[in-house]
């Protein structure tokens, strides 16, 4: 069983489209995150949810909207996709929203906007 699973693994879409990436964790963790990894491999946090509540919202365009229907799921919806949105998006989970638990990462979704 995959601990943190993301779908789809690859996503190719045209500029202006709207797309969603889904994430599910079966670890019983309370906290989930979205990170963006750019072409230079730099990882930057986008959002964090703890028990379905948004706790971290970094400087991310309004076109990005996370949704957490329950604490095991954190989806990412992106409106009006732009070329600069091309990246690998990683979902992660953590046992709690504080303390040194570290993250368990999903395998990533490679988004290519053409």
């Amino acid at each position: 069983d995959t601990a943190v699973s993301q779908t789809p693994k690859y996503l190719v879409t045209q500029m202006g489209n709207d797309k969603s990436i889904k994430c599910e964790q079966n670890l019983g963790h309370d906290t989930m995150y979205w990170y963006k990894q750019d072409s230079k491999k730099f990882l930057k946090i986008m959002f964090s949810y703890n028990n379905k509540e948004l706790i971290i919202n970094e400087t991310v365009p309004n076109r990005f909207s996370p949704k957490s229907p329950d604490k095991a799921h954190l989806n990412l919806h992106i409106n009006s996709l732009e070329l600069g949105d091309s990246a690998v998006y990683f979902c992660a989970s953590s046992q709690a929203d504080r303390g040194g638990y570290g993250y368990t990462f999903g395998s990533g979704t490679r988004l290519t906007v053409v």
């Binding site: 943190v4 906290t31 230079k40 491999k41 730099f42 990882l43 930057k44 946090i45 964090s48 703890n50 706790i55 971290i56 990683f90 992660a92 953590s94 709690a96 929203d97 504080r98 303390g99 040194g100 638990y101 570290g102 993250y103 368990t104 990462f105 999903g106 395998s107 990533g108």
Partner: protein, 114 residues
Amino acid sequence: AQSVTQLDSQVPVFEEAPVELRCNYSSSVSVYLFWYVQYPNQGLQLLLKYLSGSTLVKGINGFEAEFNKSQTSFHLRKPSVHISDTAEYFCAVSASTGFQKLVFGTGTRLLVSP
């Protein structure tokens, strides 16, 4: 806010040689420190972490790291590398209080050749 500097973008090494990957951090508060490994087309996997106590931390796959508070460093070492250690290695920091938010360095690519 916290930040991480990984001084080497790429480290080439021969199989069975020792290796050190350097990481320096900046923070005005006490921190937790992490090393993650990313194999091609995969998510990040936790190698080891420092929370408190002994400054020498042992992790998976024979890696270890030493926390040096005075030099604000957390260098990763392995006494003898294998071809299979070829991967991207990320150092990360989070404040030890408040919401956990991992801030990552830019990564170091370890290239092990025969």
